[in-house]
């Protein structure tokens, strides 16, 4: 298979040179980090007061991990390393509570991100001749804009349609002969089921590739989608703390995602002990972004569980491949591609006076899509015998939830004492979904 490279020199860089580059960039990032309130408090405590205190890549181990909660505590400007006037964009993603995590970008940061995404797109064999339909949400969520800038950089025509409105999506695919889609696995499955309603058949479309991300799915699902649509499906990994998509992406061999090690320093750790595990062993992915200036983040614990392939890829790239994400080391839920923490739901339920503190989160499949049901108990005192009042209460809870978690939930009102109650941390989440 002929491999095309966006940045051949970097993508095929010998490990020694790559590691030297990483060290240089890590030092520079430590310098940026020391300009932030957050790291200024923590790095000197472990003997790092200037970039030169990092003498080797091993010294990174002295740096304490950064957790999502730290980003929440640093909200809004605690991790900003440049003047606000140099910031041209911010993105935000789910926090464990109502407070989101914010990542700022300078113009250079955005260009760097677009570059690493372009590199990823070209690695799949796509070219400027392709027509790219971007079906991931645009907005504060990084999925949409992330691929958008990279695809434009490659030179392909981008259809910035975002998610939803399946009929229109299919119409665009037919009329504009889209060849590459960026979409969640559940939505792509859902789309297949709706083709009939859209008066279309797979043969009417011109699809060649799909980039899937934002939620976990299996090899089986990839194979199934490839068969259903007669396309190649590529796995994509990213997180807003590390820009967004473009952290790791599959090449034409579709066997693990190349993690761009000139941009991201990766460690796989044992989530209990924090110690590194060898290549090939499953652990928690820890990432340091070494090229950004506005929001340097060091040793960020992603809570995603995966392993690094020890063997080199047939394409020749020296950047190691990350496996599929096999799970999380926390309780975060992924619902139709959106990250939702049970604690966010709890926070909303607790502040509604008409319902008790007992609640349950149920996840089911509704066809190919996920369905979120939040069950709450009504307070006897708050019941006045009116149906309208209760319906209005349900709507209020639904609206407050949507404000916090950005997705829709079905609300069910139950009698007090009918939901299981727990001392301490109970099993509040019932996930009946079959894994994709």
């Amino acid at each position: 298979m002929d491999c095309v490279f966006w940045d051949k020199k970097t993508e095929l860089m010998p490990r020694q040179d790559l590691e030297r580059l990483q060290l240089e960039r890590l030092r520079s990032t430590v310098g940026s980090a020391l300009r932030t309130e957050w790291y200024r408090k923590r790095l000197p405590k472990v003997g790092i007061s200037k970039p030169d205190d990092i003498r080797s890549l091993d010294d990174i181990r002295r740096i304490p991990f950064t957790m999502k909660d730290d980003l929440r505590q640093g909200y809004p400007y605690g991790l900003l390393a440049v003047d606000l006037s140099d910031v041209v964009r911010m993105h935000a993603s789910s926090g464990t509570t109502g407070i989101p995590t914010v990542i700022f970008h300078t113009y250079q940061d955005l260009m760097g991100w677009a570059d690493v995404v372009a590199r990823s797109i070209v690695a799949t064999g796509a070219t400027k001749q392709d027509v790219f339909q971007n079906m991931m949400s645009y907005g504060l969520f990084t999925g949409g804009l992330g691929l958008h800038y990279g695809a434009e950089r490659v030179g392909m025509m981008v259809i910035p349609v975002g998610g939803g409105n399946t009929k229109r999506q299919v119409q665009l695919m037919k009329d504009f002969r889209s060849t590459v889609l960026h979409i969640t696995p559940s939505y792509l499955l859902h789309l297949y089921e709706k083709l009939g309603e859209c008066e279309a058949k797979v043969e009417d479309l011109f699809l060649k590739k799909a980039y899937l991300g934002a939620e976990p799915y299996s090899e089986n699902t990839r194979t199934k989608l490839e068969e259903l649509f007669s396309i190649d499906v590529y796995n994509s990994y990213g997180l807003s703390e590390m820009n967004g998509p473009g952290v790791a992406f599959e090449c034409v061999h579709k066997c693990g995602m190349h993690l761009w090690e000139d941009v991201y320093f990766v460690e796989i750790i044992n989530p209990e002990t924090g110690e590194r595990v060898p290549d090939g062993a499953i652990g928690e992915v820890v990432l340091s972004n070494v090229t950004r200036s506005a929001t340097p983040i060091l040793r960020y614990r992603t809570r995603d569980l995966a392993f690094l392939y020890p063997e080199p890829c047939a394409c020749g790239r020296t950047h190691r491949r990350l496996s599929r994400i096999t799970g999380r080391s926390d309780d975060m839920l992924i619902i139709n591609g959106a990250n939702v923490f049970p604690s966010q739901i709890e926070e909303v339920v607790m502040r509604i006076p008409e319902v008790g503190t007992n609640y349950q989160i149920c996840l089911e499949k509704d066809g190919a899509l996920d369905k979120l049901i939040v069950k709450v108990e009504i307070y006897s005192k708050m019941f006045h015998g009116s149906v309208h009042e209760l319906d209005a209460l349900k709507k209020r809870i639904k609206d407050e939830l949507r404000s916090s978690i950005t997705i829709g939930a079905h609300i069910e009102l139950h009698e007090p004492g009918s939901l299981p109650s727990f001392e301490g941390k109970g099993k509040r989440v019932i996930d009946k979904r079959i894994r994709l």
Partner: protein, 143 residues
């Protein structure tokens, strides 16, 4: 002239209504009128019973979410147009009916209906002025 109605929240669970009736039955409480208002995922049973204080006590003891509401019991001519006539009168006086349902027994040879008004006191005043017969607690008790 107000009558007391009991509203009970019914989760959409099989047997919930039966349990309500069973609890009342065990306490030897007689249901005189009953209706169920439904919503997508739950219902509300509304009823007039012969001993509402005992009824609500025993329902709450059994873990039901129940509440008392004021309603009015009206006699309606048991012939075609009987109800329309009363509703016309109420309409003319701009008295709003939220919901209504029927009693099991008749008080006289007229039909007996439960009315829930959004402004009960004003409704009673209008009914009095228009000479529409309101059935009191004692008479309900004697049904």
């Amino acid at each position: 002239m107000k009558i007391t109605q009991i509203s009970v929240f019914l989760e959409n669970k099989q047997g919930r209504l039966r349990e309500v009736c069973s609890v009342l039955g065990k306490e030897r409480i007689n249901i005189r009128a009953l209706t169920i208002a439904e919503s997508e995922q739950f219902g509300i049973a509304r009823m007039v019973v012969d001993r509402h204080e005992d009824a609500i006590r025993v329902l709450k003891e059994q873990g039901f979410v129940a509440q008392l509401t004021d309603i009015v019991a009206l006699e309606v001519d048991d012939s075609p147009g009987g109800l329309a006539h009363i509703l016309q009168t109420l309409d003319d006086e701009k008295v709003n009916v939220e919901y209504m349902y029927g009693f099991v027994e008749k008080h006289s040879n007229k039909a007996l209906m439960v009315f829930r008004f959004d402004d009960t006191d004003r409704a009673l005043q209008v009914l009095r002025e228009k000479g529409i017969s309101v059935v009191g607690k004692k008479d309900i008790g004697a049904l």
